[in-house]
Structure formats: structure tokens, C-alpha cells
Amino acid sequence: MQKRLFRLVLCLAMIALLSGQRAIAKEQEAPGLKMADQSQINSAKWTTVDHSKFKELKKKFTSGDQITKACLSCHTEAADQLHRAIHWQWLSPYDGGYGKGAYSINNFCISTNKMHDLECENCHIGWNGKHDGINCLKCHGQTNMDWRQEFKDLKEAMDSGDPDWVGEIQADIQKDVVKIGLPQRRNCGSCHFNGGGGEGVKHGDLDGSLIRPSRNLDVHMGIDGQNFTCTRCHTTKNHLVAGRVYSTPAMKKHVSLVQNDLAPKIECESCHTSKPHKKNAIGRKLNDHTDRVACQTCHIPTFARAHATQMEWYWETAGKRDKNGKIIQKKGPYGRPVYKSIKGNFVWKKNVKPEYFWYNGSIKSLTAKDVIDPSNQPIWISKPVGSPSDKNSKIAPFKVHRGSQPYDIENNTFVTPLLSEENNGFWSTLDWKDSITRGMKLMGLPYSGKFGFVKTCYVQPTTHMVAPKENAVKCIECHTRNNSRLASITGVYIPGRDRFIPLDMAGWGIAIISLIAIGLHALGRIVFAARRKEDD
């Protein structure tokens, strides 16, 4: 009888254990992931084409434009679609005057001078700015070829009249041009990992380390994990890529695929829903945070975890030469430059804790047309929009890049120096006066001729490099009186960080007085009892 009972208990325990484990395995998968997989037509598995079999591509190309024409002979609508896209336009479709091709400025190379500053165009998807065709290979080429440079070399070879050299380059082109696919991390990264004029300059959460990241660096993109490409979240429709544009949030409303399976997958909520944590005591408490705390705030403890990122760039020190009149280039920690004559001083950092702001998905940015107040420095060229009273705002992490920039001391506007060597700009002349004058002329903006420097700040939302959950920010890092990560966040009561000091003082004060009073009372009782005993 006892034996049977024992077996029964053992059986029940086993069932409980197994079902428990199954529940854990189920919970680790994001609720919307299956839907994301099902709607994932952007997968290599779906390809029905081998580009190496197309006769259109078995040609000896002499210019990039010829490749574009070959692509468009089948992909008839691609050019029309792309000409509407920001990647071609460099203009914000939502906010007039914003965009790299318009009046937007940043903390790095400042401005593209309406796409006249030629080195900036290395990151444009055209072969020659907006003048010639689209370089389809920039996003769809599957090799490491620098196509723009390759055709520059080809032109040089053809001009030299050396048929062997020409043949060699054309063979390389022929070999690589058929290797076509959907954009990989390397394709997007060729510009977005190098924003601001170099690897890891602009973004703290996007750099070369994400071409082949570990799961530890990015839990989604890790090649030893889910191996997401960028387009897995930045879903596309007719070549329009989902994402944030200046003051326009990536998504107007937080929608998960569980609610709408055709929604873009651009947000954490898309797959993880707004209640992503396990339904246990701590998980429920964590779910309580999702209304006011962005996922990224806890799940990206630091950015630039593999490569260093640039945190400061002071243009005001640019232009110095050494004793021999040569330009200077000084390297510092992480093998990154700390001074360059052509750019000024830099500070680089690794494993940086973000700064936190209330954020509703919109970023307020200044343009070269905006009047600034130099008496109130630093000037925030871009700043998160949001407030504790706005229910759509959440506490979100940012990289804040600090620096200094030239401005017009009479008109109180930023100025846009022409930089590229190809334009004989500041990087070849080190002449502020000339580069600013010509740069402002290209922008069609007034310039008084007098410039100075102002301190500036520039924010980048921190949203990539999501760490595995075991590395998420611990409760105590925010819920603490000293050095809370959210020390600068106002308008919300954070337990552990906040207290009403008069109450605490009164409470502890009365508690201590009570202790003293009972101590004296007890002493009195002892003394009087002893006296009474003597009297007896």
C-alpha cells in the first residue's frame, strides 16, 4: 500500500517537473515570434532566383549605371519605389526642411551642404548623388566590394589604355555582380555602422561589431543566437524601410503582431507584447514598468560593448599644424584618434551607460536655419521629446554626444563648412573662413563672415545591442538613493530612489525619542524598585 502511494507521488512529481520545464521552454519564445516567422517572406528560403543565370548580368560593365539598367530590366518598379525613399531623397517626408539633403545639421560632419560635400555621398545609394542611377548593389550586393571605388578604378584603367588592367577589374565586377541577395547586416552597416564619418562615431549601439555579433552583444542579431538581419525588424514595403525619421516616431502606436499580424516588426512590443515578462511575482512587477519604462532602458545596460564609440568631438581645436606645417593625427585609447588637424579633438569610450530621458519616439532637431542662443550652452542640436505627464512618453536610454561647432556670431545660426578634399574644402585647406563661406553659399543661407564656436549636444536613441536577459539592468541600479541610473528623471516617484525627507526625519526622530524614553522609563523602574527593596 505504502509502496503504491510512493509510486503515485513520484509519478505526480515527475509530471509536475516535466510540465514545468515545458512551460519554461514555451515562455522563452516571444509570443509574436511565430507570426513574425510566418510573415517572414524576407527570408533566403523564399528565393526562386539565381542571379548568376541571368544573361542581363553576363556583360562587361563599364559603368555603375549599366548595372542599374540591367537590374531595372527585370525589377521594373524598383527605381520608382526608391526615388520616393529617404535612402535616395535624403529628405524627411514628414518634416519640411529636415534631412541630410536639406538643412539638417549634426554633431559630426555638420552638414552635407545639400549633398554638394562629395565625401558624404559615399553613403548615398546613387552612383553619383541623385544625378545618375541607383547603386542597387550597395544594399543587395553580397560581397565586400566597394562598388563606387571599383568603377572609379575602372575609369582610371580605361583612361590609361591598359587592356589587361581593364580586363582584370571587369572580371572582378563580373564575378561579384551576380552575387545578389536581401540586405545583410554588412550592407546596412556599410553606412549605418560608419555614421558620422567613421566606424562607431555617430551611434553607440551600431558599429562594425554588429556585422558578426555574439549573442552577448546583441541577443537578436547574435550569430550564435537568432542571427537577425537588420530588416528582420526594420521591415520594408516597396523599398520603404520602417524606422524613425527626425520628429516622426518609428510607430505611432505600440502594436504587437499578436494584435495585428501585418504590423511592422520595428518595436520590441511587436513580438514581445507589452507584457513580456513571466507571469510570476517579479515578472508581474516588471510588466508594471512597461507603461513608463522603455524595454531598452533595462535591456541595454551599456552601449559600445565591443568597439569604442565617440562621445565628444570639438571642432574648435581643428586646424592646428605641427612645427613643419604638417597636419597632426594623434592616436589614443582603443586605437582611436584623440586629435586630428582636419577635425579637432575627440573622446572615445567603451561600455558606456546611457543617459535617460522622457521620450515619446520623437526627437526635436535643429537645422542650419534655426536661430540659437549662444548664451545658453550647450545647444541641443537634437533632443528627445517627452514628459512625465504625457502618457505616451517612456523613460528611454540615449547616447549623448557632446562637442563644439562653428556658428555665425552675428546671425546666431549654425554654419555649414564645406569639408571634402574633393571639393577643396576644410580637410585640404584647414581654412575656416573659405570653407564656411563656400559651404553657406551652397546651402543658400546668409553668412555674416564672422564665426565662433558653441558647445553642442546631440542625442541618439539607444535601441540596438540588446543584451541577453541575464545581463539586464538590475532593480537596484535605478531604485537606489545614490547614483541611480535615473537620477535625472523627474516627475515620477521611484521607490528606493525617492523619499519625502521631512517625513523620514520625523519618523526616525520620533522612533529614536521613543527608544530613549522607554530606556529612561525602564531605568526609573529598576532604580525605584531597588530603593523600595531597601526600604522593606
Binding site: 517579479i282 516617484y493 530612489r497 525617492d498 517625513l503 523620514d504 520620533i510 521613543s514 523600595r532
Partner: protein, 216 residues
């Protein structure tokens, strides 16, 4: 010490004693974890402190309803009807008479186990402080649902401050309460009574009518 004859009285029933010590354990845990959540010290770890605090808090709230049921159905609530009669002689006893070795002006009895000062204090604690602490704690715990319940005109700060203020009041009550247990005819007489149910008290003083029939 008094020379009067002592007698044993069964003052506290099993449920009462169980409830008292259960509350003692729960309030101790809530105090220790609550102060950690408030940022006074780091001991268990923030997440663990929150988890324990929430679990014990909800447990307290649920078990409190059993206490309310008990006190209503047994009529024991009558023991807590406040009175000012002899209140000042009790205060005088604890601030003066106790040093002189005077007898307690209102000794405990089966029908009136609390003196007027205790009645007033325990009524305040059991009817106001503790329920308010449970209410503010419950609100604190459920703040995410305020929107749905239509009570989002409260702010977390208000609730947190109220919860903390009552926590201090309870802490101060506990300090004095624990000390007062030592004022029986021996230092541990009262604590023994709360453990065994039996209190040894001085014989003689009959229960006064006002104590038995104290009604509002």
C-alpha cells in the same frame, strides 16, 4: 512588588494568540523588507525584498479578513470600545505609580482584558493604522491598474508617502508596545500570557460594570 494574592486568568484564546504572533511575524518581515525597498539599506537585494514584501503584504490583507470575521462573530469587538473613564489614572500609573510600586488601576480580567489606554491604542492600531497600511500597500502594489479602476487621480508619490508615514507610526507603536509588555508583575508576565493564554494577575479587584457594558 505587591503582596496581594495572585490568580491565573485565561485571557487570550488560541486564535487570538495565533493571530497576534502571525501578525508579529508578518509585520517584522514587512518592516525589514519595506525599509530595504525604501532604500534605507541593501540586504536581501531589491527584487527579493519587493517579492517578499508583496507576498507577505497580500497574505496579511487576506488573513486580516479572518480576524475581522473573528472579532465580529465572537463579540470581542466590545473589548475595543473606547472609554475615557480611568484613562488618566492609567496614564498616571505608567508615568508615576509604576515607579512607586502602586497596583494597576484597571487590572485585566476575562470580560475586560484591556485597560482604557490599551483599548484606545489597539482600536487605533487595529481599526485605523493597520487597515490603512494594508489599503495604501494594496494601492502601491496595484498602481498599474489605477487607470482601469478610475482612481488615477492619485499619484504614486502620495500613496508612497502615506504608506511610509503609517509604517513609521507602526514602528513607533511596536517599540512602545514591546516595552509595555515588560510592565506586568514580572518582566515576562504579559508575553507569557500571549504565548500560553494564561495571565497571572492580582486577585481581588472585581470587574467594574462600566468595563463590561461599555457601549457607545
Amino acid at each position: 512588588m505587591s503582596h496581594k494574592k495572585m490568580t491565573n486568568l485565561y485571557l487570550f484564546t488560541r486564535y487570538e494568540r495565533l493571530w497576534h504572533w502571525l501578525q508579529f511575524i508578518m509585520i517584522s518581515i514587512l518592516m525589514v523588507t519595506g525599509l530595504e525597498v525604501h532604500g534605507v539599506y541593501v540586504w536581501l537585494g531589491y527584487a527579493t525584498a519587493v517579492k517578499i514584501h508583496n507576498f507577505v503584504g497580500i497574505t496579511w490583507l487576506i488573513t486580516f479578513f479572518f480576524f475581522v470575521f473573528w472579532i465580529l462573530t465572537t463579540g470581542e469587538w466590545k473589548q475595543y470600545i473606547p472609554t475615557t473613564k480611568k484613562l488618566f489614572s492609567v496614564i498616571r500609573f505608567y508615568s508615576y505609580g509604576i515607579f512607586k510600586g502602586e497596583p494597576h488601576p484597571v487590572p485585566a480580567s476575562k470580560e475586560a482584558k484591556h485597560n482604557p489606554l490599551q483599548r484606545l491604542t489597539y482600536l487605533g492600531v487595529a481599526a485605523a493604522l493597520l487597515p490603512l497600511q494594508m489599503l495604501t500597500g494594496f494601492m502601491y502594489w496595484s498602481y498599474h491598474s489605477w487607470d482601469d479602476w478610475g482612481i488615477d487621480f492619485f499619484t504614486l508619490k502620495q500613496v508612497a508617502i502615506a504608506h511610509m508615514a503609517i509604517a513609521f507610526a507602526i514602528l513607533i507603536f511596536v517599540i512602545i508596545h514591546v516595552y509595555m509588555t515588560t510592565t506586568g508583575h514580572t518582566v515576562f508576565a504579559h508575553i507569557k500570557a500571549m504565548i500560553t493564554g494564561w495571565e497571572e494577575i492580582e486577585e481581588g479587584e472585581p470587574v467594574q460594570d462600566w468595563e463590561k457594558a461599555a457601549r457607545p
